[in-house]
Symmetry: C2
Subunit: 405 residues, 2 copies
């Protein structure tokens, strides 16, 4: 367990009675109730749940989100400009804010994804000049980051910049301005807008390109003083699990920036693997993509291995699996649950890791002076003694007194 030392901390706690005397030789149940590490998943269905007026659909999504909440403490909500604001000025604010607040109430930290991207961009932008597109892009960032401040304090500010100016599937407003301004100028501007609107937010750049091109982009951005809080790495593995060699190679190359690393969009599938010759995953259009029993065992194994490597790495702070359920993006069998919400082996495998292997639960006792010492995974705890309970946050070694009762 040495390789997980950085995920743990020690507590020396003195438990006091209400009158201030030490609660000596008292049984204490120590239960970790949340993780500091961000175990995340796409939570787009929380928005759907807020939006739908169909009671059956709501019940179904609510059942799904209950299973979601039993695994995760971190969710990604959609801010694709073309869908968030399909008509200029008409946004999905009500249902998105409702979903974000609902998740917050359940103890879930929320990230907005993304503020600037060439894909799923608003088509109505294309009638403007490049200068007007850019000023609307910055205004959009100011508006949304400000509106959600305190509820969503983490943003994928810009997505897939490596390909952005050479993206040639279709004309779009963002590729246009990236071509004109250059990658670094555009990233600088959108990060500045996000930072101005929320000085405390965690601001990410995110890419599926893990080659030298992304590394060099990050070098250039950091040299240019862009306030990147964390490096986002996508890992959609529809074409097969990266395996330890590639995973360790990516970790080693992106570690040299000494910034937190977030695996922002992870996919491991439980069906047939997409052929290697497909370059843009979106080009793989199938009628159905079934999950298979062998595929489900493989997916569970690969998820366990990959999460274990990432959780052990000192710079990784978050892992987000992209689809919670099968049949979303590309119809892939990419979820922890099937489309009908029944759980898959990967769900159980990840639950065991997050809520058993990497979660601290112990029955201890105070000594004769009321002291209790324990070490555990970082996060929030409840300490229960016969006469009551108290909360404790363990993010580093601490020494505290708690008056309980």
């Amino acid at each position: 367990m040495n390789q997980l030392d950085h995920r743990r901390a020690s507590a020396r706690v003195r438990i006091l009675n209400p009158d201030g005397t030490p609660a000596a030789n008292r049984p204490v149940q120590v239960d970790q109730v949340s993780h500091r590490f961000l175990f995340g998943c796409g939570a787009f269905d929380a928005v759907e749940m807020m939006k739908t007026q169909d009671a059956e659909k709501r019940a179904f999504l609510s059942e799904r989100m209950d299973k979601w909440l039993a695994l995760f403490n971190y969710g990604t909500l959609p801010f694709y400009w073309g869908r968030y604001e399909p008509v200029e000025g008409e946004t999905a604010y009500p249902e998105t804010m409702a979903a974000a607040k609902w998740l917050n109430e359940k103890g879930v930290r929320v990230k907005g994804h993304p503020l600037c991207w060439h894909t799923a961009c608003a088509p109505w932008l294309m009638r403007f000049s490049n200068d007007e597109i850019l000023s609307r892009q910055l205004a959009r960032i100011h508006r949304d980051v400000t509106a959600y401040r305190g509820v969503i304090d983490m943003w994928d500010v810009i997505n897939e910049v490596v390909i952005m100016p050479v993206f040639d599937k279709y004309d779009n407003a963002i590729t246009r301005i990236c071509q004109e301004k250059g990658r670094i100028r555009l990233v600088k501007e959108v990060f500045a807008a996000a930072r101005e609107s929320n000085p405390d937010a965690v601001l990410l750049i995110n890419d599926f390109n893990t080659s030298s091109a992304y590394e060099i982009l990050l070098e250039g951005l950091l040299e240019a003083g862009v306030p990147i809080s964390a490096i986002g790495i996508q890992s959609h593995q529809h074409q097969g699990y990266w395996g330890l060699e590639k995973l360790n190679d990516v970790l080693s190359r992106y570690s040299r920036f000494n910034l937190p690393i977030h695996f922002t969009e992870n996919t491991l599938i439980s069906g047939e693997i997409m052929p290697a010759h497909i370059v843009d995953l979106n080009d793989w259009q199938v009628d159905e993509w079934p999950s298979t029993p062998e595929g489900e065992e493989r997916q569970a194994r690969e998820i366990s291995e990959m999460y274990s490597v990432l959780f052990a790495h000192p710079l990784v702070e978050a892992i987000t699996t992209w689809d919670f359920n099968d049949g979303c993006w590309l119809k892939a069998p990419s979820g922890f649950v099937h489309a009908d919400n029944s759980i898959k082996p990967s769900y159980e495998a990840l639950r065991r890791l997050i809520h058993e292997t990497w979660e601290t639960h112990e029955n201890l006792a105070t000594d004769g002076d009321g002291y209790l010492s324990f070490s555990g995974f970082k996060g929030d705890y409840i300490l229960r003694v016969p006469q009551g309970s108290a909360s404790l946050t363990l993010n580093g070694d601490i020494s505290v007194s708690l008056r309980i009762g």
Copy 2:
């Protein structure tokens, strides 16, 4: 010829007699004697020629260099640190300076290649700490750029930065410092050293990687204020001619920086093509690599097409073919002449382009007031009238009076 307008300029010249009266209705022979465009080639044999004490070898190299001089106005000389200074403090200065001056005297502009590179680096550097390696690298740049100032005013300052920190064929001093400093920091430092030592020099960055990674590196460097005079692009095509599509794609992607583009290391071969699966060309080790008659015709065609595209592009200022003769790097049949100095079809094809198609020679006459108008390719000219001759440089439209006789 419209697409070559940017390579041409017009002159309105009044020819005067020695007494200042117009030389009316006089025949004038207009001969371009040099090009503004840099038609270049590796000129390493000029150094060999200066160094050898073997008269036969010298005669052979001299014959080779005569053929070289009949084509080119621009040459690259070697400054690989490990060869230029195999033992610390013992440099190839005498023969290199002699070669550079000899070329200058023949009207050839000289570039030094390279000042910083992980390959062919000096092994004796590896005993130093990274800080000491860097300070020696910068001192080397100061020393050499200063020593050759006025003779060599053009430098490949740094070579192959995209791969530099991840180069893993063997340990070397430059990869070490690039890993520690990062690409942008290192490029910044070596360019600053070169610029300090020769404020007027043309300073290039050079790479074989033409993917987005190099583009993004350039964005980052320009954003960081690195004084890059021109973008160097290698085009070793041992695995087959790029063709118009790739050539135009590269030109279009690298044009957006609006900096001069130099094709610094071009190779098109006249033998069998190297298999596509070879990633590092150096891994292709053969005993011999013959030139074939069909290959020689193909090479001549490809060189004609590629040079024509590049000469037509407004930002391209230089094209350097890497090997003048066959049997140099990788033993490839990559030259304009065979190993025995006999010329190949590619020699004749390029000679026709440079010295016929793209060179201006006209027999004209002054009008009744001594005026003569012509347009021609940019470069230096001699104007001959019966009573004498005069020189003229045509780099833009000009209007001058010349007193001849």
